[in-house]
């Protein structure tokens, strides 16, 4: 049981944050839910009405420009490809860095850099680098690799790939740092024992390293998936708001456009809610699944 003094102290610690969060996170969240069931747009900011599930029906059944299901599919591709690259590159580089080699500190510093750069600068810079005529990507392709120049920003598939390349570049350092922390906590004796038994490099990786970094990587991957799914900056700024002709959107950029370019507030609110519920369900299932399989090792 807490004494009165302790209760006061707990209140002092916890209440201010929750008052702030209530005002700017929980209240807007509820407001968003309310909006999702209404018909607000720029002309009806004050006198909007509840119209039930109509916005949701519109999202799932009415054709939209761009098509909801196409955007949804693209979001899945975007998330899976990005996170896969982040994790594979991150763990791979962490394994390389986790040896006794010269210049380790320098390599680590340079490899963390993409994480340190503000995302909007990353996006705008890569957009410049993808320029057809003067961008360095095409210059490298044509001058050093003898390949034809690519129309990065003017065709939908290439523009989407450009967004993915940018996001892979900026995202691997986070996974690398997390993996590095996990690798450092693996006791050396395990590897020594395995070596005495004559275990190969691959065998050690599969039976010691990967299972032991798993408990740290799973929450990081969950966060990574949620962050990537919701990453508005890169798609919006690299493709300049979904160019060409709204063919490069992922769900969040689609919502952003609906809200702030078309002012369909209620439609956007309903779509935000759909995204949130998707992610919530996913995270719960994913975390539970990975906890259930943890005992297998």
């Amino acid at each position: 049981m807490n004494t009165d003094r302790t209760k006061q102290f707990i209140g002092f610690l916890v209440i201010p944050s929750f008052v702030l969060l209530a005002a700017v996170v929980f209240y807007p969240f509820l407001y968003n839910v309310a909006l999702a069931f209404g018909n607000m747009n720029l002309n009806k900011i004050r006198d909007w009405q509840f119209i039930g599930f109509r916005q949701f029906i519109k999202i799932f059944t009415e054709p939209s420009q761009p098509d909801f299901y196409a955007v949804f599919g693209k979001t899945i591709i975007w998330t899976v490809v990005n996170v896969a690259f982040h994790v594979i590159l991150g763990v791979f580089l962490a394994l390389l860095l986790n040896q006794k080699i010269k210049g380790k500190a320098i390599y680590r510093t340079l490899l963390i850099l993409p994480w340190a750069i503000p995302q909007y600068i990353v996006a705008l810079t890569w957009r410049g680098m993808f320029n057809y005529e003067y961008g360095s990507i095409n210059l490298i392709l044509t001058k050093f690799l003898g390949m034809p120049a690519v129309e990065w920003l003017r065709s939908p598939t290439e523009a989407f790939i450009a967004c993915i390349i940018t996001n892979v570049w900026l995202g691997f350092p986070f996974m690398m740092v997390v993996a590095l922390g996990a690798l450092q906590s693996i006791p050396h004796e395990l590897y020594e024992a395995a070596e005495i038994d004559g275990a190969s490099w691959w065998h050690k990786l599969r039976t010691i390293t990967l299972p032991l970094i798993r408990p740290v990587m799973i929450p990081a991957i969950t966060l990574g998936i949620v962050w990537t799914f919701n990453n508005l900056n890169i798609v919006w700024l690299v493709s300049n708001g979904g160019e060409p002709s709204d063919r490069t959107h992922i769900l969040v950029s689609f919502v952003y456009k609906a809200a702030f370019n078309f002012y369909s507030f209620s439609y956007a609110a309903a779509l935000s809610l759909v995204i949130f519920l998707l992610l919530l369900t996913f995270s719960m299932v994913f975390m539970k699944q990975s906890k259930a399989t943890e005992g297998a090792y």
């Binding site: 807490n2 040896q99 919701n230």
Partner: protein
């Protein structure tokens, strides 16, 4: 036999360095690009050469940035917003994280879960209602609005980070201080907080970065050019029909310096402070 394993070891080492060097190069390439563009004289902005330093390199863009543009205004605005957000974030997260780590109380589990849930909000989910609320309150174009939005978006993650770190500090430490007659608060301030320095550093860093680097929210809420923060200002170089690459490059370099400096200076704390055990719950 011995020479063979030695040779194997040598090739392995060489391959490791080769791969690491390649990725390090990929990591710095875009930054070098920006730096290169920032040094180009006006007539070479659209150059197709890939020289390490451009011919006739000049600081002209930097000078123009500070003298001809509102860069100093944006810098001042961004600094004010960022400092406010960082201070608020550190105070609130260090207190609340401690409460969650050390005490049992009604609604604790729900509170922690709701914090985790906010991480799944798409940005638009808070931005849109906030935007409409601010329109209705007439608070579009105010710093108060943006500081509150930034603090609140960074706060849940920071509280979790702090809580996770406090969890690793043994409770016997404050118990000893309490037996010596310290109040809860003194024990927290004098004993625990100094030990939680790595997590405090991470919290400060993340709050700083989230405010210093944010474009999407700022673009909607700050429309008056006098209130612009750096991200909107930099985007404006790019937005017009002909991108002012030279100014953009120079501005990017100036904006990057504090955040990259901070990040690299603090990077040794990253591994210890970012105990992702915290996310495990």
């Amino acid at each position: 036999m011995a020479t063979q394993t030695k040779r194997m070891r040598f090739f392995q080492l060489a391959a490791t360095h080769l791969v690491l060097a390649f990725f390090a190069l990929v990591a710095i390439f875009p930054i070098w690009q920006v730096f290169n563009i920032s040094l180009r004289p006006g007539d070479q902005l659209l150059s197709t050469s890939l020289e390490l330093v451009p011919r006739n390199a000049t600081f002209e863009n930097y000078i123009r940035l500070f003298t001809e543009r509102d860069f100093l205004v944006w810098l001042r605005n961004s600094a004010a917003v960022t400092v406010s957000v960082t201070i608020t974030g550190v105070i609130f997260a260090s207190l609340t994280g401690y409460g969650f780590s050390r005490f049992r109380f009604v609604g604790k589990k729900a509170g922690l879960l709701s914090l985790l849930t906010t991480q799944m909000f798409p940005g638009t989910m808070l931005l849109l209602p906030m935007y409409i609320m601010l329109i209705n309150l007439g608070l579009i174009d105010s710093y108060l609005g943006i500081v509150i939005v930034y603090s609140a978006t960074a706060l849940p993650f920071c509280i979790w980070t702090m809580k996770g770190y406090y969890d690793t500090i043994p409770t016997s430490l404050e118990e000893a201080a309490r037996i010596d007659g310290c109040s809860h608060f003194t024990a927290f301030m004098k004993v625990i907080l100094p030990l939680a320095a790595p997590a405090l550093v991470i919290t400060a860093l993340f709050s700083f970065m989230s405010a210093w680097s944010e474009y999407i929210v700022a673009a909607q809420i700050l429309q008056d050019t006098d209130l612009w923060t750096l991200p909107i200002g930099l985007k404006s170089f790019e937005a017009s029909m002909s991108t002012e690459w030279g100014l953009y490059g120079a501005a990017s370099i100036v904006v990057m310096i504090p955040v990259v400096g901070l990040f690299l200076g603090l990077s040794r704390w990253l591994v210890s402070g970012l105990t992702l055990g915290s996310v495990k719950g």
